[in-house]
């Protein structure tokens, strides 16, 4: 049997995910528990977590491929959060939760605006107390409201747990990189919908895609999507490479997150513009993608924070920042 190339392998994985997702009415919140079980049983929810730690093996590129296709389909499930929780547990040798999990940073014992807190079965917190970090399951969890994307957020508290060298910034950035994969999927879907609609919608006697302004707008969108895709691939490769210096990993991750979060706002605005009024209605699928783009981009810190952090690292290196910006 011929070994698959990495690209072929990812392609097969994506097809398998699409196949599974195609069997669910993803937009309906009622399907979430069943969809989660199916994804979990297929081994799609704990990719990049080693099998010996209770995960499904594979690498970050595999995990990101699943996230991207789920983002494309409009899935609302704690996929990123569960991966983060598992990674955090694995780092400190705790048991990896099997089901849905929330995950975040607790400052002074409390994590607020925590995605899926109170809805996911588990909640793993990186607890920051007295300048030190530890990993701990949440003691109390409450759901407060829903996000723009229609996902629950809540509050969780925890005391100190297993000490760890993982810092808040590292966890947040890792979360943002995984989230970038979902953003990329959501953006690809929004763009596909806009391209399709621009061919169907006739105005002043011709399809709107033949208007230069519409064509150029969509071309600009394609550029944004490609930029995020390239930056994300590089970040995943960098984070997966144990030989890569932590600062290079951080820069590659920041680049991907800055591209993805910028893309999110632009794609949401442009695809709504192409769709006109119809895209503004709840019945049209566009909003499944655009509300995700608007909401997820702020999940672990916003694009301006990430960009500022990147600028500060680069400035500290002066001219030699050039070296950090691609390898």
């Amino acid at each position: 049997m011929r070994a698959l190339s990495p690209a072929e392998h990812l392609g097969e994985l994506e097809d398998a995910v699409d196949d599974l997702l195609g069997r669910y009415e993803v937009a309906d919140p009622a399907v979430r528990p069943g969809l989660w079980r199916a994804l979990s049983e297929a081994g799609f929810t704990l990719l990049s977590i080693p099998e010996r730690a209770g995960g499904s093996g594979g690498d970050l590129a595999d995990a990101a491929a699943v996230l991207r296709r789920c983002g494309y389909a409009g899935v609302r499930l704690p996929l990123v959060e569960t991966l983060l929780a598992a990674w955090l547990c694995e780092q400190v040798g705790r048991a990896v939760p099997e089901g849905m999990s929330a995950c975040g940073v607790a400052e002074a014992g409390t994590a607020t605006r925590l995605a899926w807190a109170g809805t996911a079965a588990d909640c793993v917190l990186l607890v920051h107390t007295d300048g030190a970090y530890s990993v701990s399951p949440a003691a109390t969890v409450t759901t407060a409201e829903t996000t723009l994307a229609g996902e629950p957020v809540g509050t969780a508290t925890a005391g100190p747990g297993t000490p760890t060298s993982v810092r808040a910034e590292e966890l947040r950035l890792r979360g943002a990189v995984l989230r970038a994969a979902m953003l990329l999927g959501a953006a690809q879907r929004a763009l596909d919908l806009a391209v399709q609609y621009s061919g169907e919608r006739v105005q002043f006697g011709k399809p709107i895609r033949s208007f230069q302004a519409v064509g150029h707008l969509l071309a600009g969108c394609a550029g944004q999507v490609v930029a995020t895709s390239v930056a994300l691939d590089a970040a995943l490769a960098s984070l997966s490479d144990p030989g890569c210096e932590p600062e290079r990993q951080e820069v590659a991750a920041l680049v991907a997150v800055v591209e993805a979060t910028q893309m999110a706002g632009r794609l949401a605005a442009a695809t709504h513009q192409v769709h006109g009024a119809i895209g503004f209605t709840a019945e049209h699928p566009l909003h499944l993608s655009t509300t995700a783009l608007w909401s997820w981009r702020d999940d672990y810190g916003n694009e301006f924070e990430w960009a500022s952090r990147l600028a500060r690292i680069a400035t500290a290196h002066g001219r030699d920042a050039w070296d950090l910006l691609a390898d």
Binding site: V251, A307, H317
Partner: protein, 380 residues
């Protein structure tokens, strides 16, 4: 919409030692004050001495096979050398078009005699070329060629005008797109075009420099008045010029020179900013992220091209994003500096601003590029 997504990152890490060598060479040149960094150096930095010193290190003609005097280095090695030179603002203009466009064209379409004659000289950094594509009023509509050739014994006689020919004042050869079959009404304008290699010393060739808004004259109008071109100076196939030139546009739309034109400014600013701080970090960070991404995209395109594929859509995307990035650098530096800036930053900033109208013009305007992208996405 799947094509542009197929780009995969290419790691450049394996080329670290080559990168270090180039950087050391550049540092030595700068220490010896042989030149100063410039924005848009592949257009503005004409320095035959530098081209020859570079060639002596084996960094000109890297894509040319060894049998023709080149190095046959890989696409990534060439990419790395180009990136480092552009980032340093080194004066690469003299050999630029010969190395980047004429050599590949000669390899693809040239006769064995042409290759043996020109390629070793190009690889030595001694022979420089210019392109004769645009004509007065042609603008983005390259197929509207009016320069025409008539058959004469042993060759052709060419008459017409080419404009926006960079390097024409000092180059040795002009590769001109010429109409060799008169345009019939209703016939496609792309048919009947041929590429000629014309010696600038030929009788009937006149070069009129075009002074730009920066006061310099890197472009020229080339007037061809009944210029004789021998048959052995036809490049490729008579009548096949349009296809040959279109293939060339893929090269012109994709390289690091579409991204790094203002990188010397950005890097000089970062050097100063390490001391002075920055005013609006988010703007700088977005700019740096885009630089990183564009470096990866152009590297991927270079590898694709070297593998014989023509990622036309990806190349157009790279250039659309890249040229806008080049223009944004000046604004970001203006936005982020906390004091009037060091002398070099100011000099480069001024250069970047004055060159900025050209960034989106050359090799296809934004409108044309977005048209290519829209078409590639199935929108046209």
């Amino acid at each position: 919409m799947s094509a542009p997504m197929s780009l995969r990152g290419h790691r450049l890490a394996d080329t670290a030692s080559l990168r270090a060598e180039v950087r050391e060479f550049v540092a030595t040149e700068l220490a010896e004050r042989r030149w100063s960094a410039r924005c848009d150096a592949w257009l503005l930095g004409w320095d035959p001495g530098f081209s020859q010193r570079l060639a002596a290190r084996g960094w000109v003609g890297m894509a040319i096979p060894q049998e023709y005097g080149g190095r046959a280095a890989g696409a990534l090695a060439r990419f790395v050398v180009t990136e480092e030179l552009l980032a340093a603002g080194a004066p690469v203009a003299a050999h630029w078009i010969a190395d980047r466009q004429s050599a590949p064209q000669l390899l693809r379409f040239g006769t064995e005699q042409q290759r043996r004659l020109f390629l070793p000289e190009i690889a030595a950094g001694r022979m420089y070329t210019a392109l004769g594509l645009s004509e007065p009023d042609s603008g983005s509509d390259l197929a509207s060629v009016r320069t025409a050739a008539t058959r004469v014994p042993g060759g052709w006689r060419v008459t017409g005008r080419k404009v926006w020919t960079s390097g024409a004042a000092h180059a040795h050869l002009l590769t001109a797109l010429v109409r060799t079959t008169p345009l019939e009404p209703g016939a496609p304008r792309q048919a009947g075009l041929t590429q000629f290699i014309i010696d600038f010393d030929s009788p009937g060739v006149q070069v009129h420099p075009i002074r730009l808004i920066n006061g310099e004259a890197h472009f020229a109008e080339v007037v061809l008045d009944d210029v004789f071109v021998a048959d052995d100076r036809v490049l490729g196939t008579v009548g096949d010029g349009w296809r040959q030139v279109t293939a060339e546009l893929a090269y012109e739309r994709s390289g690091p020179e579409r991204v790094l034109t203002t990188a010397p400014l950005l890097l000089a600013f970062l050097r100063d900013a390490a001391r002075t701080g920055i005013a609006e970090p988010a703007a700088l960070g977005r700019c740096l992220a885009r630089l990183s991404t564009l470096r990866r995209i152009t590297a991927s395109v270079a590898v694709e091209l070297a593998a014989g594929r023509t990622p036309e859509l990806a190349a157009a995307l790279a250039k659309d994003l890249g040229t806008r990035f080049e223009g944004e650098v000046a604004e970001v530096v203006r936005q982020c500096r906390t004091d009037p800036g060091g002398d070099e930053v100011n000099r480069l900033l001024r250069e970047a601003i004055l060159q900025s109208p050209g960034f989106t013009l050359r090799g296809g305007t934004t409108e044309i590029l977005r048209g290519v992208i829209a078409k590639g996405m199935g929108l046209r």
